[in-house]
């Protein structure tokens, strides 16, 4: 973040005013001025197995936390202080979510490449490819395909996802209408409603299509114009969230 001298002075005054007043409106102005920093830092942590949207959210909350804790009289630049806070929160997010395991870059790249290949091969073959077919097409061994599959979805207990496919996610979200009768049917199942209601709408819809309508991942991917592997990640993440929510002590 860089501001000209006038802006710096203005921000400094706002910080001092906020430190004494904790006025929400003032904080909103400050958040608006620094949200780019949060997004920038979130992107630095992308491709480590958490969706970018989630990381931006974590970083944004950390930014708000930084505003509340910042003491302008100490003479430290807010951007320096906020960077430290946001990075700390992002690291904590990965640790809490069990994302300490970082897949090797080679495997991350292979995973992304495979995701595209699967889509192409589904078109050519008219069905989901086997691992052997995929390995041959990608010119890697089957072990590497399987390793990439696991590395890309190095999911664990609390949350799971793979390289942040925000573009795909946005494309999917854009295709979701505001009203969806079939989704409501699933949500109306009394015993399932509280659990499913905790998921974002797009995840609920994909979960519904796979587990209630019986569509394959490839079919769902085709309907939404996203990769099968992205559908897989969204399903896996949703199921993990549901499991976590269903834990007695959650």
């Amino acid at each position: 973040m860089s501001f000209d001298q006038g802006s710096r002075q203005e921000l400094k005054e706002r910080f001092e005013a906020y430190a004494s007043s904790h006025d929400p409106a003032l904080r909103a102005q400050l958040v608006s001025a620094y949200i780019g920093l949060a997004e920038y830092l979130a992107r630095r942590f992308a491709n480590r197995g958490e969706p970018l949207d989630d990381l931006v959210q974590v970083a944004s909350l950390a930014l708000v936390k930084a505003f509340d804790r910042f003491e302008p009289q100490r003479g430290v630049e807010f951007s320096t202080y906020a960077t430290h806070t946001i990075v700390g929160e992002l690291k904590r997010h990965f640790r809490d979510k069990g994302w300490a395991i970082k897949a090797p870059r080679r495997m991350q790249e292979l995973y992304l490449r495979l995701g595209k290949l699967v889509g192409t091969m589904v078109q050519v073959l008219g069905r989901s490819p086997t691992v052997a077919e995929l390995a041959a097409e990608a010119k890697v061994s089957e072990e590497e395909v399987l390793e990439a599959l696991e590395a890309g979805q190095a999911y664990r207990s609390a949350s799971l996802d793979a390289p942040a496919g925000s573009e795909e996610g946005e494309a999917l979200a854009a295709r979701l209408g505001d009203d969806d009768d079939s989704l409501d049917v699933a949500e109306n199942r009394a015993t399932l409603s509280p659990l499913l209601a905790q998921l974002p709408r797009r995840e609920r819809l994909i979960l519904h299509m796979r587990f209630f309508e019986g569509l394959t991942q490839t079919e769902i991917a085709s309907q939404f114009g996203i990769s099968q592997m992205h559908v897989s990640r969204l399903l896996a993440r949703s199921l993990a969230q549901l499991r976590s929510a269903a834990e007695p002590n959650s």
């Binding site: 041959a136 399987l146 207990s157 394959t216 099968q228 897989s232 499991r243 976590s244």
Partner: protein
């Protein structure tokens, strides 16, 4: 499906070891010529059942998973050996999820903890002839 090759895996009953179970089931399903879609289903099924046994925080003890391969498909039998024993049940949602992912499934109580099994039948185009890594 009990006359085929068998692979048994014993891991600590903690979430960080379930990746090994997923990799194993994916590798074995690949040998059987399962499609990518089916392999993803198996990985989700493993997660659903194993987490059903261990919870998301894990348990003291081990998880023994036995994979049985044959021409029809893959049968997976899991058993928890937990210090505290105990049983687990499948939620209605888990039942629905597993019903969509595999052909048969069950979860019962055993002496030292819960026991599960599921069967996924092969629907791939061909049964593999070559060992992994020699198909290129």
């Amino acid at each position: 499906m009990d006359d085929g090759d068998e692979v048994t895996l014993v891991v600590p009953a903690r979430p960080e070891f379930l990746g090994l179970v997923r990799v194993t089931v994916a590798g074995l399903a690949s040998r059987l010529g399962f499609t990518f879609d089916q392999i993803e289903d198996l990985r989700l099924a493993i997660d659903e059942l194993c987490f059903g046994l261990t919870g998301t925080k894990g348990k003291d003890g081990t998880l023994e998973v036995r994979f049985v391969l044959d021409e029809e498909g893959l049968a997976v039998h899991g058993e928890g050996h937990f210090a505290a024993g105990g049983t687990s049940g499948l939620s209605e949602l888990s039942q629905i999820i597993l019903g969509a992912l595999v052909d048969e499934h069950s979860l019962t109580a055993a002496a030292f903890g819960p026991r599960f099994s599921f069967v996924k039948k092969r629907e791939g185009p061909t049964t593999r002839q070559n060992p992994p890594g020699e198909g290129q």
